[in-house]
Every structure is written in C-alpha cells, then in structure tokens.
Symmetry: C2
Subunit: 193 residues, 2 copies
Amino acid sequence: MDHDEARSRLLDTAERLFYERGVQAVGMDELRAASGVSLKRLYQCFPSKSELVEGYLRRRDERWRAALSDHVDRHGATAQDRLLAVFDWLHAWCAAPGFRGCAFINSFGELGSVSDGVAGAARDHKRAVREYVADLADDLRVDDPAALADQLLLLIDGAITTAAISGDPAAARHAQVAAGTLITCAPRRPATA
Amino acid sequence: MDHDEARSRLLDTAERLFYERGVQAVGMDELRAASGVSLKRLYQCFPSKSELVEGYLRRRDERWRAALSDHVDRHGATAQDRLLAVFDWLHAWCAAPGFRGCAFINSFGELGSVSDGVAGAARDHKRAVREYVADLADDLRVDDPAALADQLLLLIDGAITTAAISGDPAAARHAQVAAGTLITCAPRRPATA
DNA sequence: TACTCTAGAGAACGATCGTTCTCGGCGCCA
DNA sequence: TGGCGCCGAGAACGATCGTTCTCTAGAGTA
C-alpha cells in the first residue's frame, strides 16, 4: 500500500465514522483499525487529528456538491426544473440509510467554536453551495436571482436539519413545495417588448 | 446554598458553557469552578453528565420558546404580523453577541447518534416550535395551515444555521422575506359569501 | 550472506475525562 | 462541651484520548 492509497483509505474511513458518530466520538486507534492503515502511516499522512478532520470535510464538500450537480444535470431541463431537482436529490439523500444531517453543520456545532479550520470549512461549503444555487437561479428571469438563492439556501439547510432530527425525509418535499412557490412568486421584470 | 439554588446555578452555568463551546468541550470540573457548586453537590443534583445535559436542553427549550412567544405577543397585532414577528425575534437573536446557532441542532450533531436523550430533546424542541408556529398559522385564512407551518419551520431552522455559520444575521431577514411570500401566496379558500 | 532502511504492531506516555473517595471543618442538639 | 452528621476542597481512580517510541521482521542491494 503506497502513500496515496493509505491517504485515500483514511479519508474514506474518516468520512464514514466521523459522519456516523461525530468527530470526537471516533479515536485515532479506531480509525487505524477500521482503515487498515498503521498508526505510523496515519500520522505521516495527517500529522494531527485536526488535519484529518479538515481533509475529511474538504473531500466531503467536493463529493457532495459533485453528486448534487450530477443529479441536476441529469434531471433538469428548464432552469426551474433544475432548481426543483435540487430538492429531489435532497429528498433521496435524506431518505438514504445512514443519513444524519449535514456533516458541516454537525461539525460546526461540535467544533466550530474551538477549531478555526472546521468553522472555515463549514463556511466555505455553505458559500460554495450558495454560489451553485445562485448560478441556477441566474437562469430564471427574476429580478434578483441572488436574493432568491439566499431564500432557497434557507430551505435547503432547514430541510436537511429537520429531516435529520425528525428522521423524516418529508421535510425535503415541504422544502420543494416552498421553493416552487418562491420561484413562481419571485418578482420579475416585464418581458422585454 | 440549598439544593434548588445549586441546581439552578448548575443549569445556568451549563447553559452558558455548553452552548458556548459544545458539550464535550466542557468538563465537570470546569462546571464546578464556574458555578461555585461543589462536585459532591453537583453529583447529588445530577447523577451523571448526561442527565445534566438533558436538563440543560429541557430548560433551554422552555426559555427559548417563552422568549419567542413573549416577543410575538408584544409585537404582533394581526395573524400575519405575529408570524412575521417570529423572524424579527430571530434576527435579534442571531445578531446578539455569543450567538452560536441552535443549541438543539448543535447538540444533536455532537451527541445525537450516541445519546437517545439528546436526540429526543432535540426532537421534542423542534416539535414544540412547530406546534407553536402551526398555532400562529391557524389564525390565517389559508387552506392548509399545517403545510405552511412546515415550510416556515424550514426557514426558521435554515436561518439559524446559516446565520451561525456565516456569522451574518441577515439570514433571518432573508427568511422573513421568504416567509412573507409564502404566507401571501399560500392557497386560500374563497371568502365565505 | 550481511547491511541498511522502512514499515507495522503495539506498548508507552502524558493529559484529561467522568466519577468516587478521603479528610478536615463547621453547625446542631443534648 | 462533646459527639454526630453534613459539607466543601481536592486527591484519587480507572478509562480513554492523541501522539510518540520501541522492537521486530522483511525487502532491497552489494
């Protein structure tokens, strides 16, 4: 096993265990056992636990947004459909086994006040998602796509946390309905005539 | 200092420290030092840390909803004003120094997968808030007040987490605007004529 | 074959955690 | 006054954490 494979295995294992049970509930030795990477190599790849945590969050951010973007590309034709497809994907995610809310919100609540790295990773993730949604909203003919994106972001985060705590993915459907209303009722310039 | 005052001091201190830094980051000895209650009495009042955590969450739930309800009673005349006043209060809270998001979402992310008590307290809190908002929505003349309440709940939780992570209370204002749209555009039965 | 280098297994270390125990002192009632 | 009981201060305990160190075995090279 070379350095890159060890690193990849560690990130995979960290993502699974940290998300499942929280960062502080998973020790380095359990990570070693679950990943099959020796403690020595673990500390060669990540000199401290906090660097592993930040690596976990950064990779999860990339994967999460890539999966969302893929789904939207495959299932949305019009600009409005693409925005609503976001909530289809959210619903599927919230209904998936092992769903436990947003990894970034969870980590922020656990460590955000102590670790600048975790707080920054959460901020960066939310900002990136906002930019993605804002890009989707730009394709609508609404007056203020950025304002609409802000509102949709609230529905997204609200649906994720509500689904996690209640255990019911229906929150994503409620968010979808609300998003449809906000999109439909958003102020529009009159069609250029 | 009698038993009740010790208990009250402990809950006050726990609420401040747990909310500020997370549950696992605060040790029992620090709680003793900050509250001025001896360790012996601490364990007489709360036989284990997890019971103190649940006590903290339960009392925070009561106080949080009482403060919200007070504000709504004082600042909302019509049913719609009362619903929008919820978001005024949220904005003030998100802008207050020391704001760090929703104590229940934070605790759920940190301990929800390990502690049934924490997960249950978070569920109960969210359910109680939902009922409160649903009661407010009942006073509107909309077809489905419960569905509207579900949507507004998403905006509330979304605003809290977004404001916490971004550090910008403007999220509560965005939520208020979206709430206004959802209330205005909600399907209504025709006025009984 | 002998030497060197590296990696893995796991012990070890110091810190900290939740929880319990010990000890000394103060109030209370006869 | 003297014995009793409760209290706070803090030591102690066992567990666990993140991190480092030791030891041994095997691969590669002359």
